[in-house]
Amino acid sequence: MAFLEIDGLKKRFGNVEILKGIDVELEKGGFLVLVGPSGCGKSTLLNTIAGLEQITEGEIRVDGRAINDLHPSKRDIAMVFQSYALYPNMTVAGNISFGMEMRGVPADERQKAIDKVAKVLQIGHLLNRKPSQLSGGQRQRVAMGRALVRDPKLFLFDEPLSNLDAKLRVDMRIEIKRLHATTGTTIVYVTHDQIEAMTLATKIAVMRDGEVQQFGTPAEIYNNPTNLFVADFMGSPAMNLIPATIATKGNALSVVLQREAREPITLPMANAPAGLSAFQGKPIIFGVRPEALTDPEGAERNASNIATADLHIEVVEPAGSDTFAVTNLGGKPVVARLRADANIQPGTSTPLAFNLTKAVFFDPATEHRIR
């Protein structure tokens, strides 16, 4: 039995179904990230776990106990909010201990708990300040301190890093990861940032329109997206999704990609998924991540299926650590990821290698993966 179990959870506002039957579970000590575009229901799902919103159907269990009818304060959870939600009229110490005060914990015990948390998060010198006197990163720490001090079964994070600037966000991300590693707590974390999802999670649930599109480990989600949406949403720069057709060459299938003003490219598929044979002569979506489309020297050595083709480069974007080259296939811009020192000029033709072992295929009608 998993530690956190969400079974057939539905949430309706009047006739509008916000959550359409969510099934997710998480082992003890796991880190579940709910990710998706705004309006996908991820925050609502988190709020129902917290008890801040009622559910219409289904059940939420923590450690085998159903908690969906309990008041938020009785669920043994702690929550870190996007705006940190620090009480502006209380000091940092007051913020951290407010929950204990509400539960009637005596003052000396509260003080001990505050000191302990302050030490972990290194905010001892801030305890007597008001939230308005803190920097963004310090507020973030206090918000985490307020959650930590409760020593809850479950931590809930609602987009905790989205109000920080880029550099601080990376620092705090590492800090959260370290915190998770050292304390071994179970965390549910909401974000719209797929990099946060990839770096932090042990499990990711990609959501759209109140449904979980795919639930799995970061590697599964990244390498084996179940549909077009997940493939497109996860990864930066995004996966190239190129309209293509399937042709037969001898007894092997091949992918045909249209090019502008030149004859199409044909990529032979040595190990095509079984489902692909049903699509002979039909349009499909061919998915290849930018790192699987690179200069022949930079291509993965031990990949079993590599095909090279001459491509017309339209734009070159040197990004420091990598260089991105943009070409056009099937009427869409396609991004290739090259070494930083790759010698490549816009307006020229360059041979690029497709790592077809990593390629995925989607049915354009259903948007599902072809396996």
Binding site: A50, L52, P72, S73, P88, M102
Partner: protein
């Protein structure tokens, strides 16, 4: 009223591009107009003030705008302690205190109710809460003439009930007391405004703080007392000032429900002093009485003008 007729001048000044630099001319015209209007707004107060320090002799023979030749404080003392209101000649001090006794409880009660209502209407929405708010909001705008008569009837009945209680139990519990009546009336017809103020303020109050407090285990009232109230000082100041000014300045309810006798509020007493038809009219005393009636709200305005304006705006423009 020459001041009102001048606004056509800036357009003309724009055509006068030659000669002195247009810009300088523009500035002179603008400052001139602004000064003229400042005189327009200050004049009545100035006249009231200087008159209140003049002797009757000086008023009858002198110029309205002239400063008092021999300033005397007597009109103020007379207005406060001796002038006749109706048939009683004990000055307006009693009525001043009547107003205080009415204003303070009415302001406090209506403000507290408004704070609670605003809290519920923003942080604990329920089906139909917008309708409830709409109905309360509309109550701010009704002409009070449309409720004046039924309220008089009800207050009359309560007064008779109070007399019965007085005779049987020994206390009327304030029923029938005009000051209590006015407190009640001002609370009833003030909660629309106070609710509007707090609702608009709390609307911008982050919901996440409420959620955090819920997770922390705070109850409905604990959230209100520990989270909302300590962060509501600005809107409290605005609401208290607004209510204070409105209730202090009210004349309609005061004259309808406490229009005679010892319990009338300041505004009614002032009107009686000024419009009395018996004896010699003592203009200096009248002006002093008017100044005394105006002072509390003027002081509030001078001390907390910023909040005063914000209150008026909040009453006028939604959120």
């Amino acid at each position: 009223m020459s001041a009102v007729a001048t606004p056509s001048r800036p357009a003309a000044s724009q055509n006068a591009s030659s000669g002195m630099s247009t810009k300088t001319l523009n500035r002179i015209v603008i400052y001139g107009l602004l000064a003229l209007f400042a005189v327009f707004y200050l004049m009545p107060l100035f006249v009231m003030l200087v008159t209140s320090f003049k002797t009757m002799d000086e008023i009858q023979n002198g110029n309205m705008l002239a400063l008092p030749r021999a300033p005397t404080f007597d009109p103020w003392l007379k207005a406060w302690g001796e002038t006749c209101v109706g048939l009683t000649c004990a000055g307006i001090k009693g009525y001043f205190w009547n107003s205080i006794k009415m204003v303070v409880p009415a302001v406090l009660i209506s403000t507290m109710l408004g704070a609670l209502n605003g809290y519920v209407l923003t942080k604990w929405r329920f089906r139909g809460s917008t309708l409830v708010f709409g109905l309360m909001l509309f109550a701010c705008f009704i002409p009070f003439q449309s409720v004046l008569l039924p309220m008089a009837t009800i207050l009359g009945s309560l007064g008779r009930f109070g007399v019965t209680l007085q005779n049987t139990v020994g206390t009327s519990f304030g029923l029938g007391n005009p000051t209590v009546n006015l407190v009640f009336v001002h609370v009833v017809y003030g909660i629309g405004f106070t609710t509007l103020f707090f609702r608009n303020y709390y609307e911008a109050f982050p919901n996440e703080l409420i959620k955090a407090a819920q997770v922390d285990g705070a109850s409905f009232f604990q959230i209100f007392r520990r989270i909302m109230l300590p962060n509501s000082l600005p809107i409290f100041v605005v609401t208290v000032i607004y209510q204070f000014t409105n209730i202090w300045n009210d004349f309609l309810f005061a004259s309808a429900y406490a229009g005679t006798g010892d319990s009338m509020p300041m505004t009614v007493a002032l009107n009686n002093v000024v419009n009395t038809s018996t004896g010699v009219v003592e203009y200096n005393v009248n002006m002093a009485a008017a100044m005394i009636a105006a002072l509390p709200t003027l002081i509030v305005y001078v001390v907390a003008g910023r909040y005063f304006v914000r209150g008026l705006m909040a009453g006028a423009v939604k959120g």
